[in-house]
Symmetry: C2
Subunit: 242 residues, 2 copies
Amino acid sequence: MKVKEVAELVGISVRTLHHYDEIGLLTPDETTEAGYRVYSDENLETLQQILFFKELGFPLKKIKEIIDSPSFDREEALIMQHKMLLEKKRRLEKMIGTIEKTIQHSKGEIQMSKQEKFEGFDFSHNPYEQEARERWGDKAVDEANEKAKNMTASDQEKFNGIYRSLAAIRHLSPDCKEAQEGINEWYHFISKFGNYSLDAFKGLGQMYVDDERFTKNIDKFGEGLAQFMCDAMAVYADKNKK
Amino acid sequence: MKVKEVAELVGISVRTLHHYDEIGLLTPDETTEAGYRVYSDENLETLQQILFFKELGFPLKKIKEIIDSPSFDREEALIMQHKMLLEKKRRLEKMIGTIEKTIQHSKGEIQMSKQEKFEGFDFSHNPYEQEARERWGDKAVDEANEKAKNMTASDQEKFNGIYRSLAAIRHLSPDCKEAQEGINEWYHFISKFGNYSLDAFKGLGQMYVDDERFTKNIDKFGEGLAQFMCDAMAVYADKNKK
DNA sequence: TATAAAGTATCCCGTAACGTGAGAGTCAAT
DNA sequence: ATTGACTCTCACGTTACGGGATACTTTATA
């Protein structure tokens, strides 16, 4: 899809798409030899994410940080966004209530306190904002990026080592002893780079197959490794829960 | 109320209030001798109006035009804003639907078309936007302001003349012949400055008593004139309806 | 097949609505 | 008398594009 098609589909301007490209927020996967931007389906999904975050008032810079972060999880984001949009709706409903009261008030039918006249305006008290800040605030995202960057050469070696040893047994059952031992090592190793609960760990595994950027990388060590790890990680998480 | 109190009450920053003062959008009625801004209750009502318009995406410049316009009617604005907020809520609900579908889609539970992935984003199709543009668009407001400015000295004289002659009979009944003849002249005269239906004319009369800026001006020609004109205009409108 | 019309690209200046200090005066309470 | 919370006025910085200029590509039409 070319710029104008995308622009009309989602209701934004061509200039906006240019802008997002300029700042590296959304660079089209492909460009024709004439230099025309061509947006892929994946680009559209990213755009959707961007627009959700934008609707919630996130600045573009932070949106970029978030979706570029190695710890970014689309589904997690969608769920958080869902919660925040519901909250925004509640806020809007309050505002509508406020305006209705104000109309009555202007007719002299009811009394209104000063606070009442401004109910719904205060955007800063969204209960999920705090949660979002914790998850996506500067600190959290920076740390995640930092940890990813701080991966030394030896870490990289270790990564590859684990991948290779898991790849070697990827045709066994995900819940066999060897697999679970490998995953155990994996779990403790990646904890260096992020604080994963068992549930998060399981989610991470899911991402290996859901997000093809991961799938591709992992399957370089052996076709089907991503799926195998995903399954084994799920088993591991469930087994160690209680 | 001083800046910080107002800021905290409505959930905006002190700088924002300073800004609104700078651009002449909201100038506090009073200032202490030290130069501290002191906001009156009326200022707060204006601020509420401003914030409603802002929530609906109006630029501050236009907001200023609208609320400064001689044809501005607070209640009319509230009603229009109410409609537009409801529309915004519907849009938000669509977005929430979209996000819910997207979550299902990402789990592979359902299919989604491209259009569906962006439902709710397009802000430009609010049915009341058109209505608002007609009412408050550049043309309408400009014309109103233009007409008000284009009032020549002789027009001003005529204004005063009618006011005076109506003031002279303001103790008669609003539906007596003299009053209705005066109002008839009034109706045809002000039509030069705006296109008033009979209903609008009646509404205008109501404004004379509702909005104290008008009341004050009119009552300069005689205490109670505003109320008298309001009553007589209502009678005139009803009589000439069918 | 020429030629117009529509779409796209980059460059670059403009704007809107504040944010963010800096430096200084003011006010209420200890 | 002093401290701390508030206030003022500059004045420059930032964000997220808007909008024009100019040039190249692609599509539609004669």
